[in-house]
Symmetry: C2
């Protein structure tokens, strides 16, 4: 609990004076004021986060955390549980969506086992942080103990800090875990006070009957566990997942170390929600990459107060949306640092009206 | 007229058989079917356009066309006319938004003078294709002659083809011209049968009173010139602009040569609308990069049937939105050509439901 508390205390508000200065600089560049819209907001946010007048975003990392979910016993997913481990091997071999998109964005992928159900062969590049071989079936009992929930959060902090020591400018979050949209819907329902059916979608692609069943399973889990909506750690323990806790820890650590963090889709969003409820200031360090097809995601974004950069009908996870948004964030800083000013380019300012 | 007619005749439908094959390939990759949303649609479209199973998008060009507008006499813009020429020099010096964003996307910027009002010093990189020193004031008379309108279209085709000979895989469009949102609103009002006020916005940032004045000027221009809504060349001649005609020509030439074309914002959209009205099949070669703040843009996108990739509150033009969308289009092809399949990665397929 010490690591978590120290991290939470290190998170402060952004440098709003520098952000104002950044806006003035943006207004001096050869373009109508505000004409680059969200890009200008991003540039301001990044200077406010990093406390750098001219931030560099060269060292980019996507953290993809994997874990299994006991609730798959209830047949809530279109894919069998073994796919989690198989996809971890796919990540390590470089064949998954996140590998292709992270490479395209010039980012490294860090793959961590937070609680995959089977023993993964030790392979180069795999960070082994298994808390248990999957969570318990939340429809019957708590997904994990409170101690395990804290360990998941602190493990996320450790994973971030190990990488931070090697140098890091911006990160993205991602995950893999068959059954994890079931956990994320449960977390979202509790922490945003929404009915389960309002925050539950088709995950990897279940049909209508399976969706109704999934909603029933989540309702059963909430009834069985009674998670305390005022205690995010209790919610994570009772209906969350190891990778969700790990990502929440990574987000908090990024905020504590003044590193911008691009949040992927629904499962990363559930983790962001836990981070936000533990420390509302963490929100200022978050960039929402996209709005997922998974309906609970829009509810999360609204609750935290984030505005997604992309709306491309994505629902893959792994960090793919974060990787796709990365070039936009970099573009915002290049605008700030590389464009000519009206003065330097000898371009006339607007006429008085 | 021969160059234009030959180009229009060369535009054919996409290769729909190959697009079906691409969808099957996408479904075999290690991700839930359809989970990469718009990225999957883009990959299909690009194979359909290029007729290549594994398209390469390495040679990327943004065409930024500049011209002046006689209607600036009516004080429709927040910036003085001299800014068009000053910004051309800024493009050539590499200090504008489009330079920074095109470089970020790995694209070359081609700058052409289609009709800037003053004589630009001959500089390296400037393509001089001046049709006249700005259009006439459309509030009083036709912006240009029918012959000039055809020349603008055919000049765009030539500019594209000169670059195409050197090798080209994908292009984006952009423009610069103080007063050109006034022309684009007029073109949009006529070609989409909308009231002027429904398609007219603040351009570079005029206030409420200036906006009302701008609408009145456009209404006056339509009354004075009576452009024929069934004849896109007549509309271009009477209320268009040289850069708008040039971009329409570039779009048609790209479609004729089976090259995907990323359309920037409102002014590029007005050009796309003219291209679409001259040859509806050209639409299949277009990718809408973003939805501009300029309200007429949404009307254009709806009329053509395009769905923008980004909604970032942009209103700069120059090709900046096209440059920002370029990495997404490239990502779609990398997904198609670099991801592992369920079979190759030994990942289990979905369970029967």
């Amino acid at each position: 609990m010490d690591i978590l508390n120290t991290t939470l205390k290190k998170i402060t508000a952004l440098d709003h004076a520098l952000m104002l200065e950044t806006q003035k600089r943006l207004d001096s560049l050869t373009k109508p004021q505000g004409s680059l819209g969200r890009l200008e907001e991003l540039a301001k946010q990044i200077t406010g986060i990093t406390r750098e007048k001219n931030p560099h975003l060269s060292r980019k990392v996507i953290f993809t955390l994997a874990a299994d979910h006991g609730v798959t016993e209830e047949k809530v997913s279109a894919f069998p549980q073994e796919v989690t481990a198989q996809m971890v091997n796919n990540f390590l071999a470089g064949g998954a969506g996140i590998n292709v998109l992270a490479k395209h964005a010039g980012a490294k992928v860090i793959v961590a086992d937070m609680g995959v159900a089977c023993n993964l062969t030790k392979k180069k590049g795999l960070i082994s942080k298994k808390i248990a071989s999957g969570t318990h079936n939340m429809a019957k009992t708590a997904a994990m103990s409170r101690d395990q929930a804290i360990r998941a959060l602190e493990t996320g902090i450790e994973i971030f800090e190990d990488e931070f020591k090697q140098g890091l400018d911006i990160i993205g979050t991602g995950e893999m875990g068959i059954g994890n949209t079931t956990a994320s819907s449960a977390v979202t329902a509790v922490l945003t006070c929404h009915a389960v059916k309002e925050v539950t979608g088709r995950g990897t692609g279940i049909d209508d009957a399976a969706l109704i069943h999934k909603i029933t399973v989540i309702e059963k889990a909430l009834k069985a566990n009674k998670p305390d909506e005022g205690d995010p750690i209790d919610v994570l323990a009772k209906v969350g997942g190891f990778e969700i806790g790990g990502i929440a820890g990574i987000i908090l650590a990024a905020a504590a170390h003044k590193i911008p963090v691009i949040i992927d889709g629904f499962n990363s969003g559930a983790a962001a929600l836990i981070a936000y409820k533990l420390q509302p200031l963490a929100k200022e360090y978050m960039i929402a990459s996209h709005e997922s097809v998974e309906k609970g995601h829009a509810v999360i974004l609204r609750e935290i107060g984030l505005h997604p950069l992309l709306n491309l009908g994505l629902r893959l996870g792994e960090g793919t949306g974060a990787a796709l948004a990365l070039p936009l964030v970099e573009a915002s800083i290049k605008i700030l640092t590389q464009m000519a000013s009206f003065e330097s380019a000898k371009v006339s300012q607007r006429s008085p009206q």
